[in-house]
Symmetry: C2
Subunit: 345 residues, 2 copies
């Protein structure tokens, strides 16, 4: 347990000595402990279910501010890693948790983040566990409060192959709700913008939603979560990776009215703004309604919509994502040169 | 490929847009690419060999300075993660690589680090691959140049159970060479110390050494790499975890003459100084010579020595590590309250 008189992180909390042990036992093991993590070995050991493939991912989180409407860096790191895993069709199982803490970071805030991690794991169904971790402390001024890396492992049935090569002509393109909420919620807290809004981040673990989708149809061709760079980036990347052309109906893309207003006022495009609880799925036309119905029954899929379709193979000039705008015109979605908002995740 | 006129990392290199893609393709994929990483999917997918257990570890590296005698942060992150894995008896297979870059960090230095990662993977036998990664950039002043997180996965035979509970009375305690070299090599580069020395870091991937040890005897009871907190920390932790008492012969602990001199001059204890290529193994007495002989034939084990033995179960007063000093006296090794050197890894 951190000593009562330690109200902030000290360099000695990261030295691998007594104070590191106090911090790990008093906060991390206390709130996130399980039979694997509790061993505090350098490596976690667990079995691989027979006849499964492994999915493995990593992400570092440097979001600013740490606490924002609808979430915090703790919730974000769990959701981000779970969502990167589930787009493969896997069942997420084990996460690692590695902290880089700035000297002077309040221990109360650290505990709040750990508790948020615990809560998020619970809301993800309680079957994803933190199994290994690391804590480093750097001198004041060498980090911005706290950075978190999470790596994650999930297990996939051997015969499931979800990914860009599976995308086929005619596929329906489905999203599970409104775009741009995460980016705008974070933006609203930045001193340089600081506007009042009711927008909260969509940050959510999508493993149970994806499980529902796969129950509805095992034939989903590809999935990707739309984070940095927004919906547009995912569409452009998947179009390029699959060498297929997509057509997207702007009117069908769910955007909250308030979010649209903020974007118009600030000159931002909601399609390029980060989400943290949105997944884009490519589903065979004849399964689309069934998958959509299943999504709408899940708490994270109520506002799911078919937003476009795969129109065919790309020619030698390269793949395109065509946006049919609300005005009836067409434009090509292109990869913006730079992200509209830094340190969004 | 990063544009010629980009000589430093920009915030846009971390935004998930075109410049991020340029950096990843031009440096990371170029030097570290393989058939899994090249897909640049959010998760890497690979198979789990049948009837194996998984070992999973993570570490963030914040070492200062980035380049030091005998290594750099790139070599360190690969070695540190491989060494955390192999102490379980596993064969390391796949690593993740997640960068937090400070705006303004020279791209030349970044490439030097990537090349060092490549070189280290090769010197580890070429069978360990980087399979997934992430890149974030924070504003100048919010990190110290570059921090790297590596998580790693290895596979263990189902019937191998190496760990503290396996430690038995009579076990020989073996180390694979001189202690304190890494910590002193880093210290020699710090402005506040800045002394001339010939000590280079022992930073090395120990997977092939451990494979040789396990070939010599499948009966190794426990292993741990002696990093932060040095040899003393490992001994104290394993004594506590196994509830066994150890006796260590100070005269048998290999310490370079120059290292001993620097420690005496600076008032440091070499037993508490970090290593990055040292493993401590607990081996049944009747297998100790065979394992030792195998270790001495490996490039990272030439100066291996039996440095102590397990004297028996701890009583109710708790476990102890007794150091028999060079003077013939005994003292109890205790966990120092704080590490002697911050940001050593």
């Amino acid at each position: 347990m951190p000593k009562k008189n330690d109200s902030v992180i000290l360099l000695t909390h990261g030295d691998g000595g007594i104070k590191t042990s106090e911090l790990i036992s008093g906060l991390i093991k206390k709130h996130l402990g399980n039979h694997i993590l509790d061993k505090l070995e350098d490596s976690a050991i667990f079995s691989c279910p027979p006849d499964k493939k492994i999915a493995f991912t990593t992400d570092s989180f440097v979001i600013n501010p740490l606490f924002f409407p609808g979430g915090d860096i703790g919730k974000l790191c769990v959701c981000g890693t779970i969502n990167d895993l589930v787009t493969t069709g896997c069942v997420p199982a084990s996460l690692s948790l590695s902290f880089i803490l700035e000297e002077g970071f309040p221990i109360n805030d650290f505990e709040r983040i750990i508790l948020s991690i615990k809560e998020t794991l619970k809301s993800a169904g309680g079957r994803v566990e933190i199994v290994t971790g690391d804590t480093k402390v750097v001198e004041k001024g060498n980090a911005d409060k706290i950075y978190i890396n999470t790596a994650g492992i999930g297990f996939i049935e051997k015969d499931i192959n979800i990914g860009p090569p599976g995308i086929k002509k005619g596929d329906a393109i489905i999203i599970n709700g409104t775009v741009a909420d995460h980016g705008l919620a974070v933006l609203s807290q930045r001193p340089e913008f600081n506007f009042k809004s009711n927008i909260v981040s969509d940050c959510a673990p999508l493993n149970l939603l994806v499980a529902d989708m796969l129950s509805a149809s095992g034939k989903i061709h590809a999935m990707r979560d739309a984070t940095r760079g927004g919906l547009a980036r995912v569409l452009i990347e998947l179009s390029a990776a699959s060498m297929m052309n997509f057509e997207i109906y702007e009117k069908e893309i769910p955007v909250k009215k308030e979010a649209r207003g903020i974007c118009e006022f600030l000159g931002l495009d909601p399609l390029y703004i980060a989400n943290e609880g949105k997944i884009v799925a490519f589903v065979p036309e004849n399964k689309a309604q069934k998958v959509l119905d299943a999504m709408k029954k899940n708490r994270y899929g109520k506002f799911s919509r078919i937003i476009g379709r795969v129109t065919g193979s790309a020619g030698s000039s390269g793949s395109n994502v065509i946006l049919r705008t609300g005005l009836g015109t067409k434009r090509i979605l292109d990869m913006h040169y730079s992200e509209q908002l830094p340190r969004i995740c």
